[in-house]
Amino acid sequence: MIADIANYISTHSAQLATQITAHIGISLFALIVATAIGVPCGYLASKSSRSEVIVTAPFEMLRVVPSLAFLIILIPIMGIGILPAVTALTILAIPPVLLNTSVGFRSIPDFMVESARGIGMTERELLYKVRIPGALPMMLAGIRTALVEVIASTTLAAKIGGGGLGEIIFTGLGLNRTDLLVLGGLLVAALSLLSGVIFDAITRKLLRYKYV
């Protein structure tokens, strides 16, 4: 089987490269959009217990739907291809980002906020200098969770023509070829691990103060 896999890689290298690039591209795009939505929503959710319910409830509801089901529900609305795939992945990735961001903002102790006000910070300065840096560790933890989820789930995007490494796996399923299943699975796993390692390195850089 190893020979089969090696053979497939050598004959399909260009196609594989496209699929890996597509996989990374779709995942990153979904993650960036999810962060752009999840972080501000998480901040709003942290403001009061009422705002938390209002902001969190819709995403909690969407979360109950399995991602594969969600992809298929989107077909009649958005058709097939990359757009519904990215939409589904984004919706999948928002909850961890949003919830962690909210917890991050809530974890800042009252006395810290009070001392910042007491020394003469405006509310805006307080947000940028104290609250956002204070919430950042949890925020990053949420984005990391979303990253790993999205890379795994992007595999399913191939089901609705979204491209990525899922194509190899679904081809393998269709043709009953174990070598393709193993290759696809390994590549997704490797991508997931690698992105985690890179993300952790970035986190360490951003949160230097925790590691001295």
């Binding site: 102790p109 006395f111 810290m112 009070e114 001392s115 910042a116 006000r117 007491g118 020394i119 003469g120 910070m121 405006t122 300065e125 200098k129 104290v130 840096p133 204070g134 950042l136 949160l207 103060y209 001295v212």
Partner: protein
């Protein structure tokens, strides 16, 4: 002219039936070291927070340096008043130098001026600048953190310092050192200090005058020896009696 005047100041919090600060009037002269003494919930912290507009009074007036503070922008007022709290509240993601100069950096001081000011203040609070300026708060002991809290509050050279139980969470020996250094700093700078504490020994040691508070009322405002000699009421008397009984314990006459 007094540097701070409290005129019939009242403050009640939503959901509370009684006043946290109840008709407090007092005048503080420039350069005084005032301690505000009382047990928890007596309104001493509230009085301090009314002074820098973290709270606003329900009625009454507070005059700081001749200005009714209700007409002063809170942020501008707070930059004129140093503020130190018990939990210090240093920002964990900033170095010691960045913590001290956080407001100057927001005010766009140039870098050299901030560096010099940070070093100057580190020396003032008794910490070696080269050793401490680039550390992070979590690398410091509680006592050292509180010294940084003090340095941060002094950075804009305020005429008035508000200190809310700054040594409340610090061990007895470090506390004694910090008290002595605070007196040295006060003596050297000619600033007015308002220092909140629940410790009668600390209040009488540090304050040239002491405000004794209970249940929102200012019971007595006088020099320590006057309070000991002529306690204004039964509460002040019991406060002094409790300190005396502790003293007897140390002398071994109990």
């Amino acid at each position: 002219m007094p540097v701070i005047q409290y005129i019939d100041v009242c403050k009640k919090f939503a959901g509370s039936s009684r006043y946290a600060v109840d008709r407090v009037s007092a005048e503080i002269e420039s350069g005084e070291f005032i301690t505000i003494l009382g047990s928890s919930g007596c309104g001493k912290t509230t009085l301090l927070k009314l002074t820098n507009r973290l709270y606003d009074p329900d009625s009454g007036k507070i005059i700081v340096e001749g200005e009714d503070i209700s007409n002063v922008d809170p942020v501008e007022l707070r930059r004129r008043l140093g503020y130190v709290i018990q939990q210090v509240g240093l920002f964990p993601h900033m170095t010691i130098k960045e913590n001290i100069t956080v407001i100057p950096s927001l005010m766009k001081w140039d870098k050299r001026r901030m560096d010099e000011r940070a070093d100057e203040l580190l020396e003032l609070v008794g910490l070696e600048p080269s050793e401490f300026r680039n550390r992070y708060p979590h690398q410091l002991s509680g006592g050292q953190q509180q010294r940084i809290g003090l340095a941060r509050a002094l950075v804009l050279d305020p005429d008035i310092m508000l200190l809310d139980e700054p040594f409340g969470a610090i061990d007895a020996i470090t506390r004694l050192n910090l008290q002595n250094e605070l007196m040295r700093i006060h003596g050297g700078l000619g600033k007015t200090f308002l220092f909140v504490t629940h410790d009668i020994n600390e209040a009488f040691k540090l304050g040239n005058r002491v405000m004794v508070m209970n249940e929102g009322r200012l019971l007595q405002f006088d020099e320590p020896h006057e309070i000991v000699r002529h306690p204004a009421d039964a509460f002040v008397q019991s406060l002094i009696a409790s300190a005396r009984s502790q003293e007897r314990f140390w002398k071994g006459t109990v």
